[in-house]
């Protein structure tokens, strides 16, 4: 299993931050997922070995956190918040719009692998609702039109 140099540097640095090895697990998994796209059996095996954990322990942890996934996703993961503040300002309509536009449902991925869609819980943008994240980027005060533009921008990349 090969990760980037940046990953390795960060990983070895992080190991020095805690009295136990396994403490690095959660952020490490997310960084690994960012590189590989998802937490493949190989990644799980590798991280378990490095941290002296069983693969079972690692997958128990993965399955607890909603950002971590063991299934491949699209290049851009569109996460639309529909929690209360966003719902009051059209979050659900926004989600429906994305579903129609991308032709996929919750946790679906477009056939070309460009987009995935996810309905998510509050992402901390309530005062700028409705909001969505594409991968780690925030998009706020959204309307259907703005959302279209956002998606088109990503599609171009």
């Amino acid at each position: 299993m090969k990760f980037s140099d940046q990953f390795e540097a960060r990983f070895s640095d992080m190991l020095t931050h805690y009295p136990t090895k396994r403490s690095v697990l959660v952020p490490t998994l997310l960084y690994a997922q960012d590189e590989v796209g998802y937490l493949s059996p190989d990644v799980i095996h590798e991280i378990a070995q490095r941290l002296d954990l069983t693969e079972l322990e690692v997958s128990n942890v993965i399955s607890y956190y909603s950002m971590l996934t063991t299934k491949p996703r699209g290049k851009f993961n569109v996460q639309v918040c529909t929690n209360i503040a966003c719902m009051l300002r059209g979050g659900e309509e926004l989600l429906d719009h994305c579903k129609t536009k991308l032709g996929i449902g919750h946790k679906g991925t477009t056939p070309d692998g460009t987009f995935s869609l996810e309905e998510v819980e509050c992402i901390g943008a309530c005062s700028w609702a409705p909001a969505a994240q594409v991968n780690y980027d925030f998009h706020e005060n959204l309307t259907v039109e703005k959302m279209d533009k956002v998606l088109d921008e990503y599609r171009k990349n």
Binding site: H17, Y18, P19, T20, R22, S23, V24, L25, V26, P27, L29, L30, L51, N60, V61, Y64, Y65, S66, M67, L68, T82, N83, I84, A85, M87, L88, R89, E92, L95, G105, H106, K107, E119, E121, C122, I123, G124, A125, C126, S127, W128, A129, Q133, Y136, D137, F138, E140, N141
Partner: protein
């Protein structure tokens, strides 16, 4: 990144450096940065604890516990290392304030962590930031690096002989991990299952060592208290509720945004003056005063002072500062359903009442909202919520039960209007598709 707003009634303490490029360490220093920690280094630890106690600073994470008091529980002598843990998991629906602090003033959090460390005799702190806030984690990583480079962190900070390490830590998506003991589990690389208490974290926390856990806003307030004094801070708010708060106004408002207002600010004024009133001139129906976990207030109940004690008296909570305003066009059954969907999705699943209760409430509310409700469901929803209340392993179960009970009690009529296969009276298009279920 998020837009900043302002209002004349604001008292800028925690937000005073917002929009002033204070992520830059030199800029931060120009704006009185790292003065408080140097002052703290010259003080007796007890004096710091007492100062914070007297300032009336209460936890901004939701529970509102007196911060100085919490620090005083940390044993002086400990065979295991002591830790400071900054809770930046900010996930309570309606809450988006810690985000601004991390974005605009990360060093103030670092400074707060170091001061808490000096006050309790700890030499290491962790700043836990939720996984979705990746850009904030990067800002924090840089801030920490800069502070180390200047000798503000690490060995012999500010040449004082005192050592203090600060580390960043990122989450990966779980509301429950904001609960302090689950937060520690998560930091230790485990599933976010809360711990049995007692022992409390102040005695047995991270890796078994005494641990102070504070919200990011709480910690960011601390340097200001050291510089401005306890009395000044205490006087900003009503008795026992010192300082200001970042209120996150959201929902059906003309001017939603995060405003820093004194503790005890009137809720009605907050909605109508600071927040600019209800959008479209519509009528107010309900307010969630402090994040989704709080019992809702009706339009008649909003003439209250926004401080911990007054809100408690009003039958709700000040919570995390997330004020969600709901207008007359909103279906409260659907609102209750959305809240329950959240808790069902975020329940860690450890204990029976929360795990099973949130699932059944979600199922019942879903069916109910889509016209499949029967009369006894209404009582059942309340019965089930009351069976959860006070009996779960951690407060998440309460957080799911409390708003639900308040909505059933205060908006029972709206439930009755859904009975007998009637379509939701608030649905624009009449009948709705079943709401998407989060897996």
């Amino acid at each position: 990144m998020a837009d900043l707003v302002s209002h004349p009634d604001e008292v800028k303490v925690v937000s005073k450096r917002f929009g002033k490029s204070a992520t830059n360490i030199d800029r931060y220093l120009e704006l009185d940065g790292y003065k408080a920690v140097q002052k703290a280094l010259g003080m007796q630890p007890d004096a710091i604890v007492n100062l914070v106690k007297d300032s009336g600073l209460r936890g901004r994470g939701g529970a509102g516990f007196n911060t100085g008091m919490k620090w005083s529980f940390v044993p002086k002598q400990s065979p295991k290392p002591k830790y400071i843990l900054c809770n930046g998991d900010e996930s309570e629906p309606g809450t988006c304030k810690d985000r601004l602090i991390f974005e605009h003033d990360p060093h103030s959090v670092i400074e707060g962590v170091v001061i808490a460390g000096i006050a309790t005799g700890s030499h290491a702190g962790y700043i836990y930031i939720r996984g979705e806030y990746r850009y904030l984690l990067e800002i924090m990583q840089k801030a920490i690096k800069d502070a180390y480079a200047r000798g503000f962190l690490g060995k012999n900070i500010f040449g004082s002989g005192y050592d203090f390490e600060v580390y960043w830590h990122g989450g990966a998506g779980a509301y429950e991990v904001g609960e302090e003991s689950a937060l520690m589990e998560s930091l230790e690389g485990k599933r976010g299952i809360p711990r049995i208490r007692p022992p409390f974290p102040a005695v047995v926390g991270l890796w078994g060592g005494p641990t102070v856990i504070n919200n990011a806003e709480t910690l960011a307030s601390v340097p200001h208290i050291l510089l401005g004094g306890a009395e000044w801070f205490a006087k900003l708010g009503p008795p026992k509720n010192g300082g200001t708060r970042l209120f996150c106004l959201s929902g059906h408002l003309n001017r939603p945004g995060v405003y820093e207002l004194p503790m005890g600010y009137n809720l009605k004024k907050m909605i109508y003056e600071v927040g600019g009133g209800i959008s479209g001139g519509r009528k107010l129906k309900a307010v969630v005063p402090g994040g989704s976990s709080c019992p809702v207030l009706t339009a008649d109940e909003i003439d209250v002072s926004m401080d911990f004690d007054s809100m408690m008296k009003a039958g709700t909570m000040l919570g995390s500062g997330g004020v969600v305003v709901v207008d007359e066009t909103t279906c409260m059954v659907n609102f209750a359903l959305r809240i329950m969907k959240f808790y069902q999705h975020e329940s860690c699943g450890w204990c029976i009442p929360c795990r099973e209760g949130t699932d059944w409430l979600k199922k019942t509310l879903t069916r109910f909202h889509h016209g499949g409700g029967v009369k006894k469901d209404i009582d059942n929803i309340q019965y089930l919520s009351e069976n959860m209340l006070g009996r779960t392993f951690c407060p998440l179960g309460d957080a799911a039960a409390m708003p639900t009970i308040s909505i059933v009690k205060k908006f029972r009529k709206e439930f009755e209007d859904h009975l007998e296969g009637k379509p939701c009276p608030f649905e624009k298009a009449g009948v709705t598709e079943p709401a998407a279920v989060l897996a």
